[in-house]
């Protein structure tokens, strides 16, 4: 499957899905005017990729400084897809990066790890 790379803009994150290496990353800020349009294809190709994976170790790095509420919904959809893949027998590790002083991002990461218990969730304060 072809890798997916989208360069960052001021209001949308860099998306780098290296499907060949089973290494996915999202970083930057996320407040596009139309979050559903921005994330629609990203989530679709993620799901297509995950459907092909069996017994695979997949890592997802997330380093976001800001995202708005509609992007939050989209992040949940990404996590749902990852959680489903874990249940289907893959091993998903999420690396959640945030600034050591950024309690807001720390808390959001904790909420996600509470909600998606099947995924291995590693918090990184940097």
């Amino acid at each position: 499957m072809e890798n997916l790379y989208i360069a960052a803009t001021p209001s949308s994150p860099e998306v780098n899905f290296d499907f060949a290496q089973h290494h996915l990353s999202v970083r930057g800020e996320s407040y596009p005017e139309n979050a559903a349009a921005f994330y629609g294809d990203i989530i679709k190709s993620l799901r297509d990729y995950l459907a092909l994976c069996t017994d695979t170790s997949i890592s997802m790095d997330i380093a976001l400084a800001y995202f708005n509420s509609s992007s939050t919904k989209m992040l949940f959809n990404i996590f749902e897809a990852l959680n489903d893949a874990q249940r289907a027998g893959n091993k998903i590790t999420v690396n959640w990066y945030h600034d050591e002083e950024d309690d807001t991002m720390l808390e959001f990461g904790q909420e996600l790890s509470d909600d998606f218990t099947d995924i291995t969730f590693i918090n990184h304060a940097v």
């Binding site: 005017e33 002083e101 950024d102 909420e111």
Partner: protein, 416 residues
């Protein structure tokens, strides 16, 4: 050599005809030469018309090329060139493939075409024809000017439209802030949409035995956010009429159903609905006699400071948004009862305050800084506290862009 005449304007009509700007608006009358003319003739024309940047060449009135002044003069100034080429046909130094457009071509297509064509269309200009015959030339600078004018006019139109929408949105909020001032003298509300209109709204209503307050943040900002506030706010208004205002949990449930129904957010197997929008909100009912606050929150938080106590109490709502496809039709938000006293301070905000990026490390403002501002200024009137919060927020934001709409509300329980 002759000078082109533009066709006369149609006779005056009482009805103003507004036409989309086209290449015709850029068309400048120009001298021209024919393929039979010689280079010495071209030199003459360029000497006579000092401002002429390029000269069209025609055959039977149809353009066949464009002679650029700078290219032509630099060629002719070379040694012996005047002698060698002066008596030869002017097509020698002519660009045989200039940009040629019809006078009726709209400005947007023309702009794309000129950019695609490259630098020479902008530097040397382009030929404008009518029914295939030379009508004149257009210049890059004029094209830029007209594009800038069109852009400015469009922006102005959109801005005026949104500014008027803002009049409507503010009117909707005004009755609430008036109701608030009547029942709560020591209270203050900040509502700052990021883009003229916004997705945050508030609602206050005074009823027998107390008052109801809502601070809500709909998904999106700008125009789509403002649409959502109208839907959510009218749904809330209807819910209060039906159910009264003293049960925030019930009201959140009713607004949830209202939004889902209005936007057709029913999780269907075969069809994905278009809208997955909703809101975060704090709904609360203050019982004046008991001094209790009944709070139901959808992804929102209440900050409470009691007189004589050191810390800030933070009361979390449920982590479930109102509306959205994945919220159940009958989800039940929890009512939390908070006992307040005379002098207790309550602060509630949308995430525009908490999540704003700023400071030396470009990270979120966060709840900690909110608590610090509240603690340091707890004895001030609500309006001073809010002003200091806004100033602190502004300093934090610094050169960063505003990320979201901003709404926060502060009140102090009165001595009776």
């Amino acid at each position: 050599m002759t000078t082109m005449q533009m066709s006369p304007l149609p006779p005056m009509s009482f009805r103003a005809v507004v036409q989309q700007p086209s290449a015709l608006d850029l068309c400048v009358e120009t001298p021209w030469v024919t393929a039979d003319d010689l280079n010495e003739r071209v030199l003459e024309v360029f000497s006579k018309h000092r401002d002429l940047t390029s000269l069209p060449v025609t055959e039977d009135d149809r353009p066949i090329g464009l002679i650029s002044r700078s290219i032509f003069l630099s060629q002719m100034s070379k040694a012996y060139h005047k002698e060698l080429y002066g008596r030869k046909s002017c097509i020698a130094f002519m660009d045989k493939d200039p940009l040629v457009v019809d006078a009726g071509m709209d400005i947007e297509s023309l702009t794309f075409k000129a950019v695609e064509f490259g630098e020479k269309a902008l530097a040397d200009g382009f030929i404008i024809t009518r029914e295939g015959k030379l009508a004149g030339v257009g210049h890059g600078l004029q094209l830029m000017r007209i594009v800038a004018d069109i852009q400015a006019a469009r922006n102005r139109q959109v801005t005026h439209s949104i500014e008027y929408a803002s009049v409507i949105q503010r009117s909707m909020l005004r009755t609430s802030s008036e109701a608030l001032q009547n029942v709560l003298p020591d209270s203050d509300l900040v509502w700052e949409p990021r883009d003229i209109v916004g997705g945050d709204f508030y609602h206050f209503a005074s009823q027998k035995g107390g008052w109801f307050g809502a601070v809500a943040d709909c998904t999106g900002h700008g125009v789509p956010g403002a649409f959502m506030t109208l839907i959510a706010s009218s749904s809330l208004g209807q819910a209060i009429e039906q159910l009264g205002a003293d049960n925030p949990s019930q009201l959140l449930g009713q607004v949830n159903r209202g939004i889902k129904q209005m936007l057709g957010q029913i999780n269907d197997q075969d069809a994905t609905p278009g809208s997955d929008d909703g809101m975060d909100a704090a709904f609360f009912w203050f019982n004046t006699a008991e001094r209790t606050l009944l709070f139901a929150g959808a992804k929102s938080i209440l900050f409470v400071l009691h007189p004589g106590e050191e810390g800030v109490e933070m009361i979390d709502g449920d982590r479930k948004g109102v509306g959205y496809v994945d919220s159940d039709m009958d989800f039940n938000w929890t009512n939390r009862l908070v006992q307040l006293r005379a002098g207790s301070l309550v602060f509630v905000t949308t995430d525009g305050l908490i999540d704003q990026i700023g400071g030396p490390k470009a990270i979120a403002f966060g709840k900690r800084r909110i608590r610090e501002v509240l603690l340091a200024n707890r004895h001030q009137p609500s309006c001073t506290i809010n002003q200091i919060m806004l100033d602190t927020f502004g300093e934090w934001q610094g050169q960063q862009q505003r990320r979201d709409d901003l709404t926060f509300f502060c009140f102090r329980v009165q001595e009776s």
